[in-house]
Subunit: 161 residues, 4 copies
């Protein structure tokens, strides 16, 4: 059984541009992260896009849906910005894919030494192996069905709708 | 729903003693780790022991079993050395606890910047919420029933028996 | 012999605000950093301000000068934003303090795992002990007299004027 | 002006062997460290040996001396185990090299997230540029002449003899 990780950017993969002094995108950190996870499940990485989810339009979300459809794997993890993760989850949920899809991201970029990125990745990689077909969001140590979750923007946590 | 994390030491919590130049135990890192996980599931931490699992005797394992029995929580994660994790899992599995117990650990101590500790914790915290009653081992991104797993000591990975 | 570290903010001490998804100021990281440096020179920390040096006005720089004058110590390190570090150095240099003052900062915030902050601090703490009275800038592994240095903003490095 | 860094191992470059659960040597971390230091002084790295300084014999120390003699650079930093750093410094000091040589190391390996390694490197790289010809030890934020320093093994710090 193998897992496809579809990378779409978000806070998870933000990069620090020291000339401008701002957070931006450059490459994904997933290849580097996989080296120390010691995950024995075969993983296929797909760099789909690197975008802040606040900047996503329908076309961006449909591109993710298309990747899910096209994937040979039946178990897919998607790294995504947290701000509109629920919106993309709805697009995927509505498509009734015969796959297990778990979306995750990070409140603090991986490059920070106090990031939640790797913890969330662990939660998602476990969830995608044990949950039945469907679309889910794994954040804050919990997993939610795509239509039962929202992001609480004041507290910066995901919660049951 | 809350989770109890029973800390027993192992490579996960090794500490570097710079006077002796060796790895030893001092305190657990779990309190510090919990701060950046942003886990919204209530977690109770229990410092049960801090021991290398190669140094465990039956009494050490029975102490863990006793803690599992006594716990108010029905979902328990145990951090444990990897070398004899399967032995302790057998003691717990044989006790037929009416709880979900997931054991995890680390091949590389948390204090190293390329550790698998936090990833494994994510896997375990997710597994303990979605799996039914039973005793499991969550390592290398996978979860195994307690009686179906062994540690491959040459490769340093956990695999199906 | 003791050293005063006057903290003024800059990229060195930027903090990630996960609700807004931006870099801001909160507390200084110097107290935490000092714990693992194992520096046996007595160090006095002074939190002077926490500001991006692009936002500094003359009043901000004069406040730093006043702190240098008032300091009991004759050896002072100042952590400062890199963008206008040379401007503040000129204010201090022109005051002809009978002290050794070394300014430093970081191109990448300390909180990032690939930061130059600690390396620069090492350079500055060494420079302030061995250099004669005067005002200096220690960046990129080098030390410059205050009137002989500029920041190359395209390359993001400090160089001889 | 360029600097040669002669790598000899020591705690600085210890590597965690997860199969044996012990600290050993594999490669030096200096190439990776140089990437984020943003040091604009040209640096030549020389992998001389990777050894715990407690295991050094005269031959090991003479090999370092030979490298110092042969070096085209007049400014040399040596990363070395702290336990017998002073012994090697004496061998180099007695040779009366017409160069500036600064020895440094780490009490905690670079691979640990609370290591003093990078701070010490900053101190050494600054010291080697500003000090006159001679052999020095840079540890704990201070610099000592080779014949005026010892390691306090109870406290794990370097101090004036």
């Amino acid at each position: 059984m193998s897992i496809r990780i579809i990378i779409t950017g978000g806070t998870f993969d933000k990069h620090y541009d020291e000339i401008r002094g701002s957070l931006t995108f450059k490459d994904s950190h997933l290849p580097e992260i996989l080296k120390f996870l010691r995950c024995s499940v075969p993983i296929e990485l797909e760099l789909n896009q690197l975008i802040d989810s606040l900047d996503m339009h329908t076309a961006n979300r449909l591109r993710i849906l298309e990747s899910c459809r096209r994937a040979a794997e039946e178990r897919i993890v998607i790294t995504h910005g947290t701000d509109t993760m629920v919106e993309t989850a709805a697009v995927l949920g509505g498509a009734q894919l015969a796959k297990t899809v778990v979306m995750t991201g990070a409140m603090v970029p991986y490059i920070f030494n106090n990031s939640d990125a790797v913890f969330n990745l662990g939660c998602a990689i476990m969830a995608v192996q044990v949950l039945p077909r469907g679309v889910y969001v794994a954040m804050n140590g919990r997993v939610f069905g795509w239509d039962l979750v929202r992001k609480n923007k004041e507290l910066g946590v995901f919660e049951q709708k």
